[in-house]
Amino acid sequence: MTELIQLLWSGVLNGLCYALIGLSLVLIFKTARILNFAAGTMAGFTGWFAWWWATKQGIPFLLAILVAIIMVAVATLLIERLTIRPLINENFLSIVTITLGLEFLIANISIRMFGGRAESFRIPGDIQFKNFEIGGVRFNWWHIVILIATFVILAIVGYIVNRTELGLAMRAFAEDKDAARLMGIKESTVSQWTWTLSVTVGGLTGILFAPVLFLQQDYMNIPFIKGFVAAILGGFTSLSGGVLGGLLLGELEALAVKYAPRQAAAALPVIIVFFILLIRPRGLFTRAKAHERV
């Protein structure tokens, strides 16, 4: 029994990573109908940036994180204004291409600034190395921090989306772009804040998982792809769907290692996703769209 719980907990850890990335991707997709291909690179850059402030500039840990997040958020506002806003009326493909260009750009800046070597993001008190046990199941303190942080992030995003004017505007845009515009909601405002929120969530993910995955070039790229798959699973327009999809994918991976035949273990989670898509193309957690008018 304890082994099973330990296994499930390991799935949760991965799941949290995918869930947060899924959340960040769905935020953008839901409102602006855009796939942000640069999300992984941006998340990784933020993690590196926080490390840079903490280590190279000698700033206290929490302050370094804050500075990094704020600077990345400001940078996102700038990027959105300069490269994405001008194309807001074009086909979604143009913006997708922009995000791809951003990916190359940011990856290059990252390696020039931070070097190619792997680094360790040391948490004060080295809590990433400290474990404790409950009933024979071992937990790591930093993983608990990640769990708590994830809840906090979800709560904040949930609050913003459901209880603020901005959130209302975002949801209006997600429902019906033209109607929202006619109601006087400024598309530019929604766009810039959606992007900022999304990239901030991604950035926090990069920071949270830096001690788990170690800071390497492109360390968030594979989790990004997994988060993408998770968001697909959840239906890509449901925020909670993206999160649940992430957790589900994480658990599927862990269980597949233990129970699935070796050949299928890797592909199994994605095969399951694929079949779910065939049966329920809108994903597991979205409601069907209203009848289309002819």
Partner: protein
């Protein structure tokens, strides 16, 4: 009108087929520099210099992963290459020639390695491609090298197909194949290692691939095969390894043999601690870096590795010199790793070979010179080097290292 068009097209098609077949050269090189030296009065001997060799210069190319997730290896190797070039050139060169090195990024993508290879061969005009990293890139590029008569020297790649001098006469390496390394580990473990009183359970943690399978097979084929407790595989895009480690914990594994890079090794060590798996963990060449210690600190204590090189703390003249020369080209302590040491050792062998050849430098001459090296000393960095004429491999042994007091230390000179 249409009939005429069809006839014209048919004619064009036939003409094209001929044009393809007859036009152009069979190989890609077209700018090889070949000069014939005049014969001396006594002997009617013509010396044909290899491509990239002139009276004053030897050009060498290197395709490294300078970006992407193996960027660390490329950067470290590049330092070692530069250190070697600096040493040779500062010392006046060899037979009146300085060495000029061109390094290009291949992002660990065979597509790029191949276009780099053509760049080296056709635009730079090199004599050899030195120090490539990775099996896939090397396997992809070596046909181009072979066709152009370029040497492929001292790569860090483990694919067995490379170690065949009949197919690749100009391939020389100091890094054994994955299988050989696994056998070396297995034999050491079974015959020499003191694993304590309990019966050990040995498991492999390898990438799900033929490379990984070869390694797992190597463990089984050696003396440790008697203690085999199964192999766990991980996928290229695994985020963490906890599920695999938990399975090992269930099976009571005492020793884990891994074929991974140093960052992954660090992650494995960290996660073993997080799931409460108490076992010894063994790595290969790739994990012997001070970066590993930086990443996981005291958790690294007791980690073991089967390498072909000595520990970073060893008091051997070769290592001292290595440190000095690396510092002289701007490397830091963290850049001292297997990648750089391997490249550096290759540089030592290369220098020795070049000096032995002297003026009349071409691929065959260098190949012969390398094969002729007997017990070549790297100042203690590796066991003495002898290149096997059928495989091109320079060392066969295994040196066992362990992290002691935060430093990789040689514990057995297999």
């Amino acid at each position: 009108m249409s009939k005429k068009l069809l006839r014209l097209l048919a004619l064009l098609a036939v003409f094209s087929l001929f044009a393809i077949g007859c036009g152009g050269d069979d190989d890609t090189s077209s700018t090889s520099e070949e000069t014939a030296e005049e014969a001396t009065e006594e002997t009617v001997e013509e010396c044909v210099l290899g491509p990239g060799v002139s009276d004053t210069e030897i050009k060498i190319g290197s395709s490294q992963p300078l970006t992407g997730n193996l960027a660390a290896l490329g950067v470290q190797a590049e330092f070692a290459l530069n250190a070697t070039i600096k040493r040779i050139n500062d010392g006046g060169g060899i037979a009146g020639r300085t060495i000029s090195l061109t390094v290009q990024d291949d992002e660990f993508n065979p597509e790029k390695t191949v276009t780099n290879a053509q760049y080296f061969i056709d635009q730079v005009g090199v004599f050899a491609v030195w120090g490539s990293i990775g099996s896939a890139p090397t396997v992809a590029a070596i046909p181009l090298h072979d066709e152009a008569g370029i040497m492929t020297l001292f790569t860090w790649s483990q694919d067995t197909s490379l170690f065949d001098r009949e197919a690749h006469p100009y391939f020389f390496s100091l890094n054994p194949s994955g299988y050989k390394q696994a056998v070396a580990f297995s034999n050491y473990f079974g015959n020499k290692f003191d694993y304590g009183s309990e019966t050990p359970v040995v498991a492999g943690l390898v990438l799900s691939s033929p490379d990984g399978e070869e390694a797992a097979q190597g463990v089984r084929d050696g003396a440790a095969g008697a203690f085999e407790g199964g192999t766990q595989t991980w996928e290229r895009d695994a985020t963490t390894y906890q599920p695999q480690l938990l399975a090992m914990k269930d099976a009571g594994v005492t020793d884990i043999y891994t074929v991974v890079g140093d960052t992954q090794f660090a992650q494995i060590i960290q996660e073993m601690d997080q799931v409460g798996l108490e076992a010894r963990v063994w790595g290969t060449n790739a994990v012997v870096t001070s970066n590993l210690i930086d990443l996981v600190g005291p958790l690294a204590e007791g980690a073991l590795a089967v390498t072909v090189m000595t520990g970073l703390n060893a008091d051997v003249p070769g290592l001292v010199q290595f440190r000095e020369e690396m510092a002289a080209v701007g490397a830091s302590e963290a850049d001292l790793s297997s990648a750089s040491m391997l490249a550096y050792s290759g540089g030592l062998a290369l220098e020795a070979g070049l000096r032995a050849v002297g003026e009349c430098l071409n691929a065959d001459a260098l190949a012969d010179a390398l094969l002729a090296l007997e017990d070549f000393s790297t100042g203690g960095i590796m066991a003495p080097i002898n290149f096997d004429p059928s495989t091109g491999l320079g060392n066969q042994g295994a040196i066992i290292q362990e992290v002691v007091d935060g430093v990789w230390t040689t514990v057995d000179e297999g």
